[in-house]
Symmetry: C2
Subunit: 286 residues, 2 copies
């Protein structure tokens, strides 16, 4: 009878998913909290880094170079906003094919400049297809994080949702909002906060998984962007902030935290399912 051969495990990222990979990296002590929106480095310093990849996050038939630049800056500034941080500096690393035209690169940087945070470093390199990695560095007085939501908290959002999903269906591009001032205001009191990039259900799940409570969201309370339906809330990329706080202020309450765990999403009082986005499982979810 043949003995089982000794071989290394061959789990592929497409089976594991991005969250599974990040969990494994943390479990092995190889990285700290890289699933968080942004890292706190002491003295109020907050940094975040995200990449946009051609063919995965964008296609040039739907997005101009200028829009790509704005977007790459905005999604990182949004991560700082979700940390209640004021952005101060960007670093921009570009991978570009050699046949790229100078004017396109200048348009990309003009789009970055529109986001209003100066570029003070980075790298430019040859690559077979375009990628943009942006690091955003800022200062925060207080970072809510994801782990502090408590039963009794209200869940608030900083604006209407579903714009990105609706635009995607219409083969248009939705320019992400950048909620820096709103983030700083909410960060004063919020118990947990993040920006809605992965879809409402999944992002709420991030807070629930880290906090000691169950998040209950009433879809009837969620403000929808023009043309958006509830299905578009699963698409993600809205970049409005979601916060758990006792003090909603002027922001829209869409639910609450209760004792328990997990996320429940209700429409007219009945539980419903909303899918979300996860890298390496791209083709399953979109």
């Amino acid at each position: 009878m043949p003995r089982p051969s000794v071989r290394r495990s061959s789990v592929r990222l497409s089976e594991l998913g991005e969250l599974g990979l990040l969990a494994e990296l943390e479990r092995q002590g190889l990285a700290e909290r890289i699933a968080d929106d942004a890292a706190q480095l002491g003295d109020g310093l907050v940094v975040t880094q995200d990449s946009l990849v051609e063919g995965v996050h964008f296609r040039f038939d739907r997005l101009s170079w200028r829009e790509l630049g704005f977007r790459a800056a905005a999604v990182n500034i949004s991560d700082l906003a979700a940390s209640g941080a004021r952005p101060e500096t960007l670093l921009v690393s570009l991978g570009l094919p050699g046949e790229t035209e100078l004017d396109d690169v200048l348009s990309l940087y003009a789009g970055i400049a529109e986001a209003g945070v100066p570029v003070r470093g980075g790298d430019t390199t040859e690559a077979a297809s375009v990628f943009v990695t942006v690091t955003a560095i800022g200062q925060a007085d207080r970072v809510p994080g994801r782990s502090g939501a408590l039963p009794g908290d209200k869940l608030v959002v900083t604006g209407p949702l579903g714009a990105a999903g609706a635009a995607f269906r219409a083969r248009r591009y939705a320019r992400p909002p950048v909620r820096v001032e709103e983030g700083i205001e909410l960060a004063r009191d919020a118990h947990a906060m993040l920006d809605l990039s992965d879809g409402l259900a999944r992002d709420a799940g991030h807070i629930a998984a880290r906090s000691a409570c169950r998040l209950l969201i009433e879809l009837d309370l969620v403000p929808l962007a023009p043309g958006a339906t509830h299905e578009d809330l699963g698409f993600g990329e809205d970049y409005e902030l979601l916060a758990a706080t006792l003090d909603p202020g002027e922001f829209t309450v869409i639910g609450r935290c209760e004792p328990g765990s997990g996320v429940e999403i209700r429409l007219e009082g009945r539980p419903v399912a909303l899918s979300g986005w996860e890298h390496f499982r791209l083709r399953e979810t979109r």
Copy 2:
């Protein structure tokens, strides 16, 4: 007679080169000093960001996942070392095909961990081929920069050169050195400093272009790594530090700064040419 049509310029990056692109971005005010090794953000904070791209900077038939991880960390830590900064934090963004195996990603992170600086953030995303963007963040008391070299300065290097070029010829991999302590020591007095990544001639040219002096290098004084020839000095990727200083200390003097501009490289008293590396002109220079 036909009038010339109005059309936008179509200069391609492959014609312009990386330095031409960076100069144009600075000229238009779209980015500040992104050609520098690292950016100073006030309060002694120094940050740098570099990407390694499969097929451009590395091939997996010559470099293991673990070596890739160490290298991606080391080249960024080297940029901090060239700024006299002590590295404190890394952010790591990975682009990976979905069929990548978990064990390979864990090996990559193990290689990053070997460089000794904790990973505190980043991003993981799907991509058609592998890229690694690392941001290194550190603290420096004094950053020499590239613009302060003066006639009368000695040029010093922190170790033997040519190892990477010799290894490339032999289809081997040279593990880059990380000269953090040397960088901190040299930064106390050096008028200019950088790490040798683009090749001795080109990197010396960076100092000459920014400083008000001419750099004279005597190849006979340059310590060669085992198996290396003078031609390997043009390859770059040595990651030893080159500094212009009045106080060479224990480091090897390879030349001096004189009144004038540009770089002269001499072998046995006669001027010689050494080529170097520039992105987007890859195929011309290697």
